[in-house]
């Protein structure tokens, strides 16, 4: 039966799923099941990648589904249903992080002046830590760790890009349009440079 649902879902769009949920009764059950099949695993992955534990990810997923089902009737249909669904997932994640008091740490913002400072300190080839890297990969890995501490959202987006997600899918997770997501990715490349550019010397070696 589980496999049947997967097969049925192939032809079902998120708009269809919302319509089923709005219909109530058996249709709603089918809609919830189809939504679970299509969205549960990517959402769990997204929540964990955003820094929550596996158990908390399950709680947030359940809360997301409760809110989707509860507010399905208010979905206007003007926007894409998939974007609306992911918006709810992001809101639930934010609510959870706010309750846990982890949001402030998670959304560390770095202004332009701080970036200049970071570029000066992190990219300095004379910095003592640079001489201790055993390889390019170690150097880049350490740079990524530092980048993740100050820009976890951007590090996550780079991970999604590495995972091979389309611009559209990445945009759904971060709540941006395709064009804005492309720009955001370019910004991510620029922002991570101070953390890994100094590894270039090792690359050339």
């Amino acid at each position: 039966m589980w496999l049947q649902v997967i097969a049925c879902r192939e032809a079902m769009t998120e708009e269809n799923i919302i319509q089923l949920i709005r219909a109530g009764g058996n249709a709603m059950d089918a809609g919830v099941k189809a939504l679970y099949q299509s969205a549960a695993q990517p959402m769990l992955r997204f929540f964990v990648f955003k820094g929550v534990s596996g158990d908390d990810a399950k709680d947030i997923l359940q809360e997301t589904f409760v809110k989707i089902v509860r507010s399905a009737s208010s979905f206007s249909g003007d926007g894409a249903a998939k974007a609306w669904i992911w918006q709810i997932a992001r809101n639930c994640l934010t609510d959870h992080q706010r309750k846990q008091g982890s949001l402030a740490n998670h959304v560390t913002a770095v202004n332009d002046e701080q970036w200049l400072s970071l570029e000066e300190t992190t990219a300095d080839p004379a910095a003592p830590s640079c001489g201790t890297f055993g390889s390019v990969d170690e150097c880049v890995s350490l740079g990524l760790d530092k980048f993740n501490r100050v820009e976890p959202e951007r590090a996550m987006v780079l991970m999604l890009q590495m995972d091979g997600l389309s611009i559209d899918e990445i945009g759904l997770r971060i709540g941006r349009t395709m064009a804005a997501t492309k720009e955001y990715l370019s910004q991510c490349k620029k922002k991570i440079q101070p953390f890994i550019a100094h590894c270039t010397d090792l690359l050339a070696a």
Binding site: Y36, V48, K58, Q62, S141, M159, L185, S186, L203
Partner: protein
């Protein structure tokens, strides 16, 4: 020397996604590929912590929806919980018949009085069942408050967390929740 930042960004991002452009500058590809390896290691580590969205998780989610009054329980006799509840009722009726409804004393009054908020379990040995429930609830992260009544009944009061409810669901129990807590009353099938 031409330098198109947009093109270079696209090439860098492609290499990051594992599709390096052979026409890109060597350093662009090598940096992106090295970053890809670092991100992959990080991704693998995180992926191992991602729960699997399997049927068990789905059932828990349905339970949560039902508790919120948002999912139907129309599966009726196909729902295993139906059989659990039915079996409990049949056993309960059996116990009452065996007792012959012959004890219009404190025992019966306690059951009726507690029935408003407590889920009453009529069991052969409340202490044994208590140990089982305590172990399960503690595994679910909660320590129940235990009260032993003079008539041999044991009352467990515990916070109704998701994990507790999920555990009780495995025991075929869907207790009523009041102010975030639930009450289970273990009554001996043969009152003291």
């Amino acid at each position: 020397m031409t330098n198109n930042p947009d093109k270079e960004d696209a090439q860098w991002l492609s290499a990051l996604a594992g599709q390096a452009d052979p026409d890109a500058k060597t350093n662009v590809n090598r940096q992106a590929e090295s970053l890809r390896r670092a991100l992959k290691a990080r991704s693998d580590l995180l992926t191992s912590q991602v729960p699997v969205a399997d049927d068990a998780q789905y059932q828990q989610m349905l339970f949560r929806l039902r508790r919120a009054g948002l999912a139907s329980s129309r599966r009726g006799w196909r729902n295993p919980m139906f059989w659990g509840i039915a079996a409990t009722i049949v056993m309960g009726v059996g116990v009452v018949i065996q007792m012959g409804g012959l004890h219009p004393d404190d025992y019966e009054k306690d059951v009726l009085r507690g029935a408003e908020h407590a889920t009453v379990l009529i069991v052969a040995d409340p202490e044994v069942r208590l140990m089982e429930l305590q172990a399960g609830l503690q595994a679910a992260g909660e320590v129940p408050k235990i009260d032993r009544l003079a008539n041999g009944q044991i009352v467990l009061t515990v916070k109704a967390t998701e994990k507790v409810l999920a555990y009780l669901l495995t025991q075929r129990l869907e207790p009523e929740i009041s102010d975030g807590y639930l009450v289970l009353k273990l009554a001996p099938s043969k009152p003291n």
